[in-house]
Amino acid sequence: MTKLMVETLDTESTVVNMGPQHPSTHGVINLKLHLKGEVIEAVDPHVGFLHRSIEKISELTQFTGFIPYTDRVDYLSAMFGNQAWCMAVEKLLGIQVPRRAEYLRVIACELNRIINHLIACGTMAMDLGAFTPFLHGIREREKVNDIMEKICGARLNYNYMRFGGVSRDFMPGLDKEILDFLDRFEKFLPEFNRLITGNEIFEKRLIHVGVIPPDLAISHSLGGPNLRASGVDFDLRRDFPYSAYPEFKFKVIIGGNYRGEAGDSFARYMVRIEEMEEAAKIIRQAIAGIPEGAYQTKLLRNPVVPSGEVYSRVESTRGEMGFHVISNGTDTAYRTKIRTGSFVAMSIIPPIAPGLMVADLTAFFGSLDVVAPEVDR
């Protein structure tokens, strides 16, 4: 009798579609949740809603003409797309980038890292119900946007780098402006931490939630803050040095030095917070040691690229951003494969999410810092 009762009372799990229009999926991503009460049994992520065929476009556009498209791969950190693409083509062309240009690239990239992490930390707080930190982050980001406007002329889709350098040199007085911003920013971060990071509710929501063990992180090819938060000491800027990064001293931030454990959502959050500080230090070093000289080699209008295959990667804000470029000796790429950090970060959700609650999933998802267009490209 009891057995029969149990069988009849056994219920199905509820299937809920989280997204494509959902406040916390950061774009159009669909997570099909199988729920038992509020506890998740299984997640099936559906991506591709923002597939803009950027890889196909690269086969139709000349190498130079594809630079603006690399902005759109990850619009929150457009500099890194620029840099990875330019590095790939420079490697095929065999161009040496002037040292000043490398320094300018590093400054632009690290500024971009700061504003991207501001958004990442802010939206994460927003996913947990605190709206104010998000707008405080946006406010500081706006100051960098003004600087970016002077560096390259745009606020979001920078299109700053060219094969063999950058599109324009610093305006006079810009370095002073950047240093002023950094002075303010280094005071702003403690205030941001007082507002949200140290908050007991915030920490309780994040620690021990969505723990990614290091071996799983490596197996899933996670990159950037997500990988380092799991305790894996790996940073492309240090281990596969490119650009001018070998000339700077910076710390590679590893997660797990705070409350909670390595690999949980709070570790990922803290790695981002600390990386902003490190980025500020790198910018200071770069501005102090910026060499004189040309900011680009002779402008390549429409380069014919020798045939070959190359894989270039940069340490983007969301992990490794890699461009696998195949050239067949014309002025157009034969095939480009873009490897992004968000794409692999999405694939970690199905193994980790079961057992979390719906509220935890938004925290976990926010801590992965997934940007939908970068997933789909």
Binding site: S307, G308, E309, V310, I326, S347
Partner: protein, 201 residues
């Protein structure tokens, strides 16, 4: 470790596997493996040489064959290698490596979706970017995009052509082009008087 070193390291241990080191006129070198051996070679690379990180997996249409390129990396040893395999166009079958690297699961789904490579032994080979009912593999070189998808046109009107057509039509209906005499009002309400009229250069 460089590519030749890795190649010789495998060859000395497993001489029966056919490997070839190739490089284009520019760019990185890669190890070419036959499609039957590729899973074994990558297993050896992972277990013996510690290439524990699959950085990238791309499917490529080489027109005479389909290719899969694996970008493997050792996080501790700080070296990486490109491994390439080719599969025939008619029956593009490549063994899966999703049991070796969890990330290969989605990478292979993408390569299947966009290029049409069949990964044998893959647990969940579905489309990932395109809708489930999409026909064809869009990144194939011989792919022809459909004119519409469920009644939605896949092309946009070309404004230049539209303007051309309009002008032709206008000439046909013998109307003179009207000069816009309305003062220019921007969205913010700033009125900018229409200047320079008749100032033909």
């Amino acid at each position: 470790m460089t590519a030749p070193e890795i190649l010789s390291a495998i060859q000395t241990k497993f001489p029966e596997i056919k490997l070839e080191l190739q490089q284009g006129p520019a760019g990185d070198p890669w190890i070419l493996v036959t499609s039957g051996d590729v899973a074994n070679v990558i297993r050896i690379l992972k277990n013996e040489l510690g290439l524990n990180y699959l950085a990238c997996l791309s499917g490529i249409d080489y027109q005479d064959s389909l290719g899969v390129v694996y970008q493997l990396r050792s996080l501790s040893g700080k070296f990486e290698i490109m491994v390439k395999t080719l599969a025939p166009l008619e029956n593009p079958c490549v063994p899966t490596i999703s049991d070796l690297y969890a990330s290969a699961n989605w990478f292979e789904r993408e390569a299947y979706d966009l290029i049409g490579i069949q990964f044998q032994g893959h647990p969940d080979l579905r489309r990932i970017m395109m809708p489930e009912d999409w026909v064809g593999h869009p990144l194939r070189k011989d792919y022809q995009p459909p004119a519409e998808y469920h009644g939605i046109s896949t092309s946009r009107p070309n404004t230049h052509q539209l303007l051309d057509q309009l002008r032709t039509a206008q000439n046909r209906s013998d109307e003179k082009s009207k000069v816009d005499t309305v003062p220019h009002v921007t969205q913010s309400g700033t009125v900018i008087p229409k200047s320079g009229e008749g100032q033909n250069l």
